[in-house]
């Protein structure tokens, strides 16, 4: 039987939220950046995500039953991003608008070894269907496991595993085709 959660004071809630915010700011920002493809919108999306999370934090803690809150936060960011595109009456045709900018954010070693290859992968990611793209961002940019991704996307663990497997396979195909085309 689930144990009742202890009541928290306002100060305790604020302290817990500060901890969550510091621990997950980079994850939420990374997700937002790969989702919207530019710093300006990613900043807005991150800010709105944390403000909304703050409003519902007490309930989320109560209902999380001790599980990590990262999937809940990412789900908020996902919903807000969907609203952003709906409000602007456009869909994210190319969510990573400037792959060279993203590739440029990597280390010097990366740049030397395969900047072109990384750009090709990012181009490929942007061509994937939205759910596959998001699953890959959660797995590789945020390091989330299947269970966390499943919770963030509202799917079963099994369906998530299949989704990621198919996403990687499809992306490999896209990148392979692109490499062959450039070699010709």
């Amino acid at each position: 039987m689930a144990q009742p959660q202890p009541q928290r004071s306002k100060a305790e809630l604020d302290a817990e939220f500060s901890e969550l915010y510091r621990a997950l700011l980079r994850d939420v920002y990374s997700y937002a950046y790969y989702r919207v493809g530019n710093h300006h919108d990613a900043e807005d999306l991150t800010e709105q995500t944390f403000l909304q999370a703050y409003r519902h934090f007490e309930r989320a803690l109560r209902e999380s039953d001790g599980r990590p809150l990262r999937p809940w936060l990412i789900r908020i960011a996902h919903n807000l991003a969907a609203n952003l595109y709906r409000d602007r009456s456009r869909r994210p045709v190319a969510p990573i608008e400037d792959t060279s900018e993203l590739a440029g954010a990597h280390t010097t070693e990366d740049l030397v070894e395969g900047r072109e290859q990384l750009s090709r992968v990012l181009d490929g990611v942007s061509q994937l269907p939205e759910d596959r793209r998001e699953a890959l961002v959660m797995r590789f940019a945020l390091g989330m496991d299947n269970r966390e991704i499943a919770r963030a996307m509202g799917r079963t663990d099994g369906a998530t595993k299949v989704l990621i497997h198919r996403a990687v396979k499809q992306l490999e195909g896209i990148v392979g085709d692109s490499r062959e085309a450039s070699d010709e």
């Binding site: 700011l25 790969y34 944390f50 992968v121 961002v137 940019a141 990687v168 992306l171």
Partner: protein, 112 residues
């Protein structure tokens, strides 16, 4: 000779985490502080005005009503018993209701 990186390794490098700009953290902390402060001010203002404005007495009154519930139930029961004995039940019920209201008023006055 170096080994060719796996595709998943390549994906890890391509989708590297992106650091947020420093000013985003500061802006967000300030927005959260404002939100907390405005919520506290709102609560404080409500508490002060609540006891001045009779429209906001509903909450303490509800507590009195709940607390006095047993008493009212007892009075109503007496009224029904009395009504069963009397040939004119309505005046008896009205008198019981009046006693219940008077009882509530006294309890509320004690709380003020």
């Amino acid at each position: 000779m170096s080994e060719a990186p796996s595709f998943e390794g390549l994906l890890h490098r391509a989708l590297a985490p992106v650091d947020p700009p420093e000013d985003l953290g500061l802006r967000l902390e300030s927005a959260l502080e404002d939100l907390t402060a405005s919520a506290a001010e709102e609560l404080e203002a409500w508490e002060l005005s609540a006891m001045r404005d009779p429209r906001n007495w509903a909450r303490p009154l509800a507590a009195v009503v709940v607390g006095g519930g047993a008493g009212v139930a007892l009075v109503a029961l007496r009224a029904r018993r009395g009504a069963a004995r009397q040939s004119a039940p309505l005046p008896a019920a009205r008198a019981a209701a009046s006693r219940a209201a008077e009882d509530l008023r006294r309890r509320f006055d004690r709380l003020r």
